[in-house]
Structure formats: structure tokens, C-alpha cells
Chain length 130, copies 4
């Protein structure tokens, strides 16, 4: 798969835990923020979707942790996307900047919940060109 | 002022930062959670309030940090409350358990925003007996 | 696999995001806290391990999200553990309390890094009886 | 006082809570990150300081909340700094971008703890030109 979006960020010290490395839960934050920023480039606001009764939610997540990020590190969060049945699947990998060392590799399966019911993401798929 | 509510919690390791102590922002989390649990004892759900268009928001916060909490520490979060004009003021102090050493002392001024406008918290005040 | 540990917790409102449900990253926090509390029952402090140059780190994580938790919900976080080669694998599931509805199912593969090098977790395995 | 540093950031959706606005604790994160980035421009790494046994810690915090930030908002975090006895005092204000509406005003008193003892921040003061 080909990455279609990337976002460069920098570790914030409060994201590091007592091991002196970024706490794992923050990688979920990083990749969620990357998805939402990607959606914005396609004209989709996560908050607006919610206000209109459409919630894109994560159904399944797989993450492999390769190299921990530390205080002072910058990184690039890259994203690819494909359709799989009802699901929109995001492949989201993070690389340390500038040496491009893999930090995490992840796959995020999302589904849509419309007015409380699991549903096709027709509108989202169209905007994403899937 | 007299404390009218207390909640015992334990530090979670992800709350500690690279200094090996609880990151300061988490004390705001602790005292927010304490306020909301206190409100529940008076029949007030923060989420329900929001759903009904009433948002209790913090207008001003003062915190003095006395002793940092560390991995493994338990603590007691105590709360007092009074009315000051339009504001509901919470005095919220945290003590390490079991030696009762002061961890933080804080004062939290809250106001109500009803349908987007600053407003008296009549309902809230009544339920809190202020 | 059989659960060998469980911890009951309650959603804190700051853990909910603009969709009104617990933000996914917090489930990583919940299961990390559960692992660390489990380790403590076996005499292992995560912070002490780190201070002695031994870091147990997550190599791989899989999570399936079943039912979102909301403000006011309580939940039980259950844990099973087994050895797989160099890895210690935790099966960690969360159930809503009291209706026992599945919230997440997860598998967490951990490895040990001793003085900066990937290593067998001999001491940890012994304490965990693996 | 005159601002000597500023950092532009954007709200990340996971920072918003069930009220649909940035949860207050995140403003502490924003201003901490701003201080640490400011220190880096003066050659001071917070993580390195800690590794050398010097911990700059917050002794007192005052925050006034003016306008809440929402999903999609960008903001500028501005910083001024002065010496007051043993303390280094940071005035840290956040403005919404681009309309410059005040979001928070805060004052952060920091002290140094060297090898576990409250101490003058001589080195830090020199680097900051105080």
C-alpha cells in the first residue's frame, strides 16, 4: 500500500513515562490525530461528523512497537487507506525523523455508527475516493 | 472550610513522567474526577448536565504543589465547597496516604454556561445546598 | 486461557472524548494499569524494575473494541498470562459492570530490555510462575 | 512583561472532552510543552537536566480560563519569564489563532530540586539571562 498522507510531529515531554520513553498509549493519540488531519484534507471534520450523528469508530487495532521515541525526538506519521467490506482500514506507520527508523507499524479498522447503528460509511468512502 | 467529600485513589504508572513523578496535569484530572464524583453523590451527573445544555466550567484555578506523588502511592482527594457571587468555589486538597502529607492545595472557581451564555447555577446550587 | 487477575475501575469523565465515549487510547491505559497492579501482587514493581535497568516493554498489541464505555460506567479489567518463546503474552479483556458486556478484547506481547538489550525475562517469568 | 517565546499548536481531537471543548488539564500540557521548547532555545533540555539530577518543578500555578478551544482550533502559546527570589516565574498566555482571542492566562512558579533538595537554579538562571 502507498501512503497518501503524512504529518510531522515532535514528542512532548509529558508524553514520556517513568521509563523515559513515550508511553505506548500516546501512539494511539498520534495515529488518531493523523487520521483526523487526513480526513480534514478530504473535507471531513470528525467533530462535524459526530454533530451530524455519524461516528467513525475503531473496531480493531494492531500495533507493533519497533523503536521507542524519546524526549526531543521528532517523527513522521504516515497513512494509507483501503476499503474492506464495511470497514475502512488505515495502515499507519510512524518513523523517527530524520533517520527514518521505524517506530510503530499499525493497522486500524474503522466502522461507522450512524444514529447508534453499525452502518456503511457511504459518505466517508466517497470523500476518501474508496 | 470543612471538607464534605473525599475520594481515595492510587497513582497509575502512566501518570508519571520522565522525572519519575506524577505529571502536574494529572492533578487537574484527579481533582476534576473528585468534583464529578462529589456531584454524583448529590444527584448531579456532569454528562447529563451537558446533555441538557448546562455546562459547569472552570473559570479560575490555583494550585500549590507540596510533595510529588510517585509510582505506587495512594492518596486521598478532599473537597470543600462554597458560593461566591455567581461562582461555586471548590477547595480541593490532596494528601498522600497513609502519612497524610499534603500533595497539592487547590482552589477551583466554576461558573455555569447555559445554552452558551454565562449564567447563575441555580439548579446546581440548590442540589449542593449552597 | 484462564484469567488470573482482575481489577474494577470506573470511567473518569476526562477520559471521554467529544463523541461522549471513552477515547480508545485510554483502554491502553486501563490495561497497562491492570498489568502493573497484577505484577505488584507477584512482588514486581514496574518502577523498581526500571530503576534496576530492566524494562518490560510492549512489542505487539492487538485490541478489538466491542462496546464503548461512557461517563458513569464501571468496568472489570481481567488478565491471563502465558509464555511464548522470549515473550510474555497477556490476554486482557474488559467487561462492563455489572452486565458483563464485553468492552474490549486484547492481547499484549511483552519483552524485556535489560541494560538496553532485548533479553529473556528470566526473573519476571519465575515470579509469574511461567 | 514582554513575551520572549511563542509556539503555535493545533487542538488534537483526543484533547477534547464530552463537553466538546479542550479538557482543562490539557492547557497544563500545552504550557509545559511551551516552557520546555523555550528552554531548548536556550540550550536547556528538561530530560538532560533530570538525568543530571536537576529537576525544575512547578511550585505554584494560577490559570484563568477565558475562551475554550474546540476541535479544529489553532492557538499561539506565549511565554514571558522573570526571577522572583529562588523562583523562576513564567507568565504563559494562550491566544486563539488567528483572531487572537485570549484562551487562558497563567502564571507558573518553578523551583529547582537538585539531588532531592530545594535549591537555587543558578545554572538555569544564567542560561535564561535572569
Amino acid at each position: 500500500m502507498e501512503y497518501v498522507f503524512e504529518l510531522t510531529m515532535k514528542v512532548r515531554d509529558y508524553e514520556c513515562d517513568l521509563q523515559g520513553i513515550v508511553n505506548n498509549a500516546n501512539y494511539q493519540h498520534y495515529i488518531e490525530h493523523t487520521r483526523h488531519e487526513f480526513l480534514l484534507t478530504r473535507g471531513v471534520s470528525f467533530a462535524d461528523l459526530h454533530a451530524r450523528g455519524i461516528d467513525a469508530v475503531v473496531a480493531r487495532l494492531q500495533m507493533a512497537f519497533k523503536t521507542p521515541l524519546r524526549s526531543g525526538d521528532s517523527f513522521v506519521s504516515r497513512l494509507a487507506v483501503r476499503k474492506e467490506g464495511l470497514r475502512i482500514v488505515f495502515v499507519q506507520d510512524i518513523y523517527r525523523f530524520p533517520d527514518n527508523k521505524p517506530v510503530i507499524r499499525s493497522t486500524v479498522d474503522t466502522v461507522c455508527v450512524v444514529d447508534g447503528r453499525l452502518s456503511a460509511c457511504a459518505e466517508l468512502e466517497k470523500l476518501l475516493g474508496l
